[in-house]
Symmetry: C2
């Protein structure tokens, strides 16, 4: 690969890695704002979203520059397009953190989440932050061995999501409808956050090599 | 523009238009399955999603072929990338129809949606189908004048979404928590369906011309 191309690809990966770090810290702060009914924290997450939009635009410009730098060899184009998809996924993770913060702000000074399900949300927040961190490392270090870690965390998130829904349907759920609505949406936001991290994991091999994991699997089989 | 390029771009638009038609008919059938607790209809929507995945892969291959056909002139690359984004949005619309159908199936033979909010969901379904239809026309006819129509329908969808949430919070909401959870998720699915249609609307000028609406506005002002 041409050196300038390789460097610019690493530069794009770095920008998207920054976005992942931002999504992770936003989800961390949004979760604390949610659990502590912290208006100031929620506001901070909401206003930090502008930085995410800026980084996303910068990443797209870098992707366009990459396309212009090289002849459109099939592999190269696929790399860049994988980069654009990853950018969109990370931006969406940031948006989901924003949604969590907005619910925290809307219910302030009340807590959006009843005390008995707060431990589940604390755990969902922890997993979300770990996933964003893993995505960043994946992008910054090209460390393919982290893939398994993402799947594992994603399964833990799905399990929490299911358990929350079971708790909601339980006869012992004595809270207001409003709390049920908030818990439903919040749980979905965390679950989607994890889905996007897993989607990034599935694109990242293509991004760095121009060949997907499936392609490489095929090559090994033949 | 080169003739082969123009034809292949139109061909890509046609495939994505087919996807939009499929998303629209899936949402139509999913809404009916939801309102009539129709298991057979729900199953049909769920199994038709495979076709959506196939069409999406075909659209991506066409986009890659377009990138290979032309030198990576900035405008061309932007067109193709807009095409890929539109494809992702339409595929997601299909996925949301699938989610609606899954809730209908899960609650069968019961109705997921209480009788007093069914008219709102019928209306949300109608708007979703109109939006998918408008997206298809946008892609097939390049008719930019439909843009306003999409915004208008999207606002109507947002208004229904807000009204449903108000109804949920109302003291007169006497249904089970399960119904509240289902209504919350379903309402969100319809709202997101409309969001993706609006996102497509914002990409379509770039897709057909290589210049965004904002670019063209800038050019007019200077």
């Amino acid at each position: 690969m041409h050196l300038a191309y390789t460097q610019q690809l690493a530069d794009l990966a770095h920008t998207v890695g920054q976005m992942a770090a931002l999504a992770g810290s936003a989800m961390d702060q949004a979760t604390r704002a949610l659990l502590e009914a912290d208006l100031f924290g929620a506001e901070e997450v909401i206003s930090s979203y502008d930085t995410m939009t800026e980084l996303s635009q910068r990443a797209e410009e870098k992707a366009f520059a990459l396309l212009a730098l090289r002849a459109p060899v099939a592999g190269d184009a696929r790399q860049v397009i994988a980069g654009i998809k990853i950018t969109a996924d990370v931006e969406r993770m940031g948006k989901l953190a924003l949604h969590v913060a907005r619910i925290a702000r809307r219910r302030h000074p009340e807590h959006a989440v009843p005390i008995d399900v707060r431990p589940q949300f604390a755990e969902m927040g922890r997993i979300a932050v770990a996933l964003a961190c893993a995505v960043r490392e994946l992008l910054e270090s090209r460390d393919r061995f982290r893939a398994g870690r993402l799947d594992c965390e994603d399964e833990a998130m799905d399990e929490l999501h299911r358990r929350l829904f079971t708790a909601l349907m339980d006869q012992n759920w004595t809270h207001e409808i409003q709390a049920a609505v908030d818990v439903t949406l919040l749980s979905r936001f965390y679950e989607r956050f994890a889905d996007h991290a897993v989607a990034i994991d599935s694109h990242v091999a293509l991004f760095f090599t121009g060949a997907s994991r499936a392609d490489r699997g095929r090559r090994l089989r033949h």
